[in-house]
């Protein structure tokens, strides 16, 4: 976690009417009491960082031009999530230490429900929204990783992946491009290829990366071919009986080995489909859970002072973590709301955390009714990957509309 690599992601609900600040302020105070485990600030101990409970509600601020800014660590009066508002948009920004996309979405849905109620909207059905008056269960506090930890063989070591050769933006680096496509059109195309929507998107992502790889090597004397690997987060609550609101996601990493040659789109589709099916199996994915938690449990790691741990983690991340991936893609799925709320919201958007300097571009999608919004977080100067991915959708007959960030 640093000023650039903030680990902060944003979820936005674009309403059909401008946001009323006073109603939002009240809604935030009420909703925050329903999710007390999010009201924490980050403290530093001698051995570990720790989350310190804090009764303060999150800050409500005007939406900034650069999203997903870092939270000040060590500042006792700031919790690790914030609420942003601008025009018709209400956004929440969470740090990944606190929760993942699903946890943040539960919070946002509850906030929107409370906001609409205070703003005088008639909402009789509540669906699966976590209402302010409902009881907070012990399960919501749980650490899913520790609860479901079992000692398993470590996952296979991964080869270093190829990285986009683009130059980085000046600081602050992050820029976003948001595009809207029809869920129906996207699903029709996915069905035509006999894959799921995520598999289709990841395949297009791989194919576009391959095009950039081939194009970038056209005038190069380097003949070394590498692996293209895209990280896809998996919501572990769908795999295990967990109801925690804390971060509980792991990853699958479908890859295309370019040392074997250049792949057609159909070959990539098949490879991605089978790899996602196999690696998202609970037994396979549990190996990553076991591997992640094992390090924390090592006696030597536990007794190391925090500053040494920080240096070691930074070195490991720089040497290994950031080199294993070419890209990241998050699909938060479809948002369901009670019918009375549905008409008050236009669409949702997910801005994934700023990618690291190796990955450079990451993508996130979220769908609501027939609107699927794709967001690219990009810290490089090139928009080539976005152009190729969206261009592929257009070739497949999917209409793409670039959304205005303002």
């Amino acid at each position: 976690m640093s000023k650039d690599l903030t680990l902060v992601f944003r979820l936005t609900a674009v309403l059909k009417e401008p946001v009323r600040y006073q109603s939002l302020k009240e809604a935030v105070e009420i909703t925050s009491r329903r999710f007390p485990y999010f009201s924490v600030s980050l403290g530093s101990g001698f051995f570990w960082h720790f989350l310190e409970l804090n009764d303060l509600p999150p800050r409500i601020q005007a939406e900034e031009e650069i999203p997903c800014r870092a939270f000040a660590t060590g500042r006792k009066n700031e919790v690790l999530y914030r609420i942003l508002a601008k025009g018709k948009r209400i956004s929440v920004e969470f740090i990944h230490i606190l929760t993942d996309g699903s946890g943040a979405m539960e919070y946002l849905k509850s906030l929107l429900y409370t906001y609409f109620k205070i703003a005088g909207k008639q909402i009789s059905e509540t669906g699966d929204i976590m209402l302010p008056e409902t009881e907070i269960t012990e399960e919501e506090y749980e650490d899913g990783y520790n609860k479901f930890f079992q000692k398993l063989p470590a996952p296979e070591k991964l080869l270093k992946a190829w990285h986009l050769p683009f130059r980085l933006n000046e600081k602050p680096r992050l820029r976003t491009i948001n595009a809207e496509v029809s869920v129906k059109e996207m699903l029709n195309v996915s069905r035509r290829y006999k894959v799921s929507l995520t598999e289709y998107f990841v395949s297009v992502y791989h194919y576009s990366l391959q095009e950039i790889f081939v194009s970038s090597r056209k005038n190069s004397r380097k003949k070394i071919r590498k692996v293209l690997r895209v990280q896809v987060p998996v919501n572990m609550r769908n795999k295990l009986p967990a109801r925690t609101m804390r971060n509980f996601s792991l990853f699958v990493m479908p890859e295309i080995d370019l040392r074997l040659g250049t792949f057609t789109f159909d070959e990539i589709l098949r490879a991605v489909h089978h790899q996602l099916q196999l690696s998202s199996d609970i037994k396979q994915i549990s190996r990553f859970l076991s591997s992640n938690v094992s390090y924390e449990k090592l006696f030597l790691v536990r007794i190391l002072p925090l500053f040494i741990k920080k240096m070691a983690i930074a070195a490991i991340y720089k040497g290994l973590g950031s080199k294993r991936l070419t890209g990241t893609f998050t699909n938060l799925g479809s948002v369901s709301l009670p019918s009375e709320m549905e008409d008050l919201i236009d669409y949702f958007n997910l801005i994934p955390p700023p990618p690291n300097t190796s990955v450079k571009v990451s993508a996130g999608v979220i769908s609501y009714k027939d609107k699927l919004v794709v967001c690219f977080s990009n810290i490089s100067r090139s928009r080539e990957l976005e152009r190729l991915i969206l261009g592929h959708f257009i070739k497949d007959g999917i209409h793409v509309k670039i959304l205005n960030n303002n």
Binding site: A179, S215, S216, E386, L390, I402
Partner: protein, 232 residues
Amino acid sequence: MNTCISCGVELEDGIEVCPLCGKSPGDKNSPVNVQGDNPSDIIAFNKKENRKHLWELGGIIAFSSIAVCTIVDLLISRKPDWSLYSDVSVLALWLTLTLILFARTRMFLFFSGLMVIVLSTLLAFDLIDTGPDWFFPVGLPLAISSSFAAWLIVLLCKKARFKGFNIIAAALIILAGLTILTELVLDNYYHGMTDLRWSLIAAVSALPVALILSFYHYRLKKGKQLDSFFHV
């Protein structure tokens, strides 16, 4: 409805320039973003920038070294002495780096520039020693002939259809000629007469090797490439 003709995407109201290609919607000929559309252009752009940075860094290191050597020499010797050699050498290295970075693809310019640098450096060394002495009778002909030989070998490599043992054979013959020329020049400078000995032995030894390599290339392994032979 605004649609970018170049990318085919619809642009929401308020977007005046397509964020994907940098063009105005409806205008196919409007200027594109600085780095160009093609990733290979981006790589070329990056390489050009990197070369410029490397050249600047080389310049800083070279001129700092020159300044440090000159100051230390002046402090110790009270006049420019040994630092003149190091200053000339460092300057020649920096000029060579400049040629490698910016003119390596233009062969004529590269070899001409390299020859000028070598000749100027040798002349400078000769002048620093005792005035013009060995440069004109030895340095000048040897530098010109060596540069010419190197240029000829590179030209052969570039023009040859098959880059196999034929290139090594040709290079051996060129080097044999160069050794003879070297002995001729040195004999004339030191003894004022010509008595060919070691260069002839070297040239005669190289000749059968060149012939065997040529035979191997043209008769036995027709068109065998060097990179596949050595698995480069």
